[in-house]
């Protein structure tokens, strides 16, 4: 019985480790899992499904699947567990370290696909949070809908009745912890997942914004450069304008000179004419003054008295005439 007892003991260990392992994986995303126990180096069983029929080997197949990342199987065990743990608390912080592991499995399993197909959004489907859907699909043709449940119930009964799993104090502890845990996850899971999603989305949105801004500014810069090139081509117009200016200045200067010459000549001639006129005017005036002066000086006092007397008589006559007119 010794080997069996040994297996027994190791089974207890594995069960406990499995619980702890699951707890740990629910809170981490695909990072090194259950380090203490994993480092002991379990044997890796290719978890082909026929091992499900064998009871005690089941746990051992479940455990290493999450622990190592080296040995890959076309089965979905590895990616499934990891993705389950990843999907229950999606994308906290890094862009899904669990997704990296999934992509690695994709890379090494199938033939090389290029371009690499996008990473799956969600993990493999599971029923009741742990059991992969593929099991149910596998058993459906032979046993129908209730097959896997019967299997599970039978296994449970076998384990309990044969005392492969002994119910002890820790059973109740595990049950209570499990109950609380499941209640917590069901109640708060979605909101926490939404929060984590929002964190991730904010990061992605920010990065997208940066990218969009960069693209628009680059496009703008390219446009500006092209515009500058076009502008530089127009420099010949500037120089043509300059040469035009020079020609215009020369022409202006020439015309100014012509005008100046004409004006000067005209001015001189006009000056001569003005001079002549002035002369004549002065002579005229002088003559008039001289004639006046001589006339005045020629009036003798006798002539003056006579003319004054004549003026007085004329005035008297005029006054009389006007008076008569006024009275009449």
């Amino acid at each position: 019985m010794n080997p069996k007892q040994l297996i027994f003991a190791s089974n207890i260990q594995t069960h406990l480790c499995l619980q702890r392992h699951l707890l740990v994986t629910f809170f981490k995303t695909g990072a090194p899992l259950c380090s203490r126990d994993v480092s002991r180096g379990f044997l890796v069983y290719p978890p082909s499904l026929r091992l499900f029929a064998e009871g005690h080997a089941e746990a051992e197949t479940r455990l290493p699947s999450g622990a190592t990342t080296r040995h890959f199987h076309p089965s979905n065990m590895l990616s499934r567990l990891v993705l389950v743990s990843a999907s229950s608390l999606k994308g906290s912080g890094a862009l899904g370290a669990g997704l990296i592991q999934a992509s690695r499995s994709l890379h090494t399993s199938s033939q090389s696909l290029a371009p690499v197909p996008p990473l799956p959004e969600k993990g493999g489907k599971v029923r009741h949070g742990i059991i992969p859907e593929e099991l149910f699909q596998l058993l459906y043709p032979k046993t129908g809908v209730t097959g896997p449940y019967m299997l599970g119930a039978g296994l449970l009964m076998y384990i309990l009745s044969k005392e492969i799993y002994v119910i002890n104090h820790e059973t109740f502890a595990a049950a209570s912890i499990g109950a609380v845990f499941i209640y917590g996850v069901k109640k708060f899971g979605p909101s926490v997942a939404a929060f984590a999603d929002k964190l991730n989305e904010d990061k992605v949105a920010k990065a997208q914004e940066v990218k969009d801004l960069a693209m628009t500014s680059l496009a703008q810069a390219i446009e500006d450069e092209k515009k500058e090139q076009w502008r530089a081509e127009g420099r010949s117009m500037l120089f043509d304008a300059k040469r035009n200016n020079v020609a215009m200045l020369l022409e202006t200067n020439y015309r100014e000179r012509l005008h100046m010459v004409t004006n000067e000549v005209k001015r001189r001639l006009d000056y001569q004419i003005a001079l002549q006129n002035l002369h004549r005017q002065m002579e005229q005036e002088h003559m008039v003054n001289w004639v006046e002066k001589s006339v005045i000086s020629s009036i003798t006092p006798q002539q003056e008295k006579e003319s004054i007397a004549k003026c007085i008589t004329d005035l008297k006559a005029l006054a009389k005439a006007t008076q008569a007119k006024a009275t009449a």
Binding site: L95, E225, R235, V246, I273
Partner: protein, 135 residues
């Protein structure tokens, strides 16, 4: 800067337009009858028609031509540099256009596309692998 050139050119052309092509002709006969001094008008007329106004010489056009040649070379160099810059911009733009969308990237892809996001684990071996001030 171009406005200054424009204002100056406009001033020059306005000045040119204000001056007539030829100065008004001098009416010699009127002067001959008006001016009393004999022979003066005739003398003036002779000298006037014999006079040839020299055209002003052009000193600036050669300068302008050399300036133009210089400007051509600098402009060509500038256009070359500008083309190089455009090529650079286009390269970066293509990288942005052809990169995978962010929600399909892994951290490794991110580090490839944007090398500045790569965390230097040698220089800062402990998390968060960058100086705290840069968080």
């Amino acid at each position: 800067m171009f406005n200054n050139l424009k204002t100056r050119s406009d001033a020059i052309s306005a000045k040119l337009a204000s001056l007539s092509e030829k100065p008004p002709a001098i009416d010699w006969n009127y002067y001959r009858s008006a001016v009393a001094k004999a022979g003066m008008v005739d003398e003036f007329e002779q000298k006037f028609s014999a006079l040839k106004v020299p055209e002003p010489i052009d000193t600036q056009t050669t300068l302008i031509n050399t300036q133009e040649a210089e400007a051509s070379t600098t402009a060509a160099a500038y256009i070359e540099a500008s083309k190089a810059r455009i090529a650079q911009y286009e390269k970066v733009l293509d990288k942005f256009k052809n990169m995978i969308p962010f929600d399909q990237m892994t951290i490794e892809d991110l580090n490839e596309t944007f090398p500045e996001t790569k965390l230097d684990k040698v220089k800062h071996p402990y998390w968060p692998h960058k100086p705290i001030a840069e968080l």
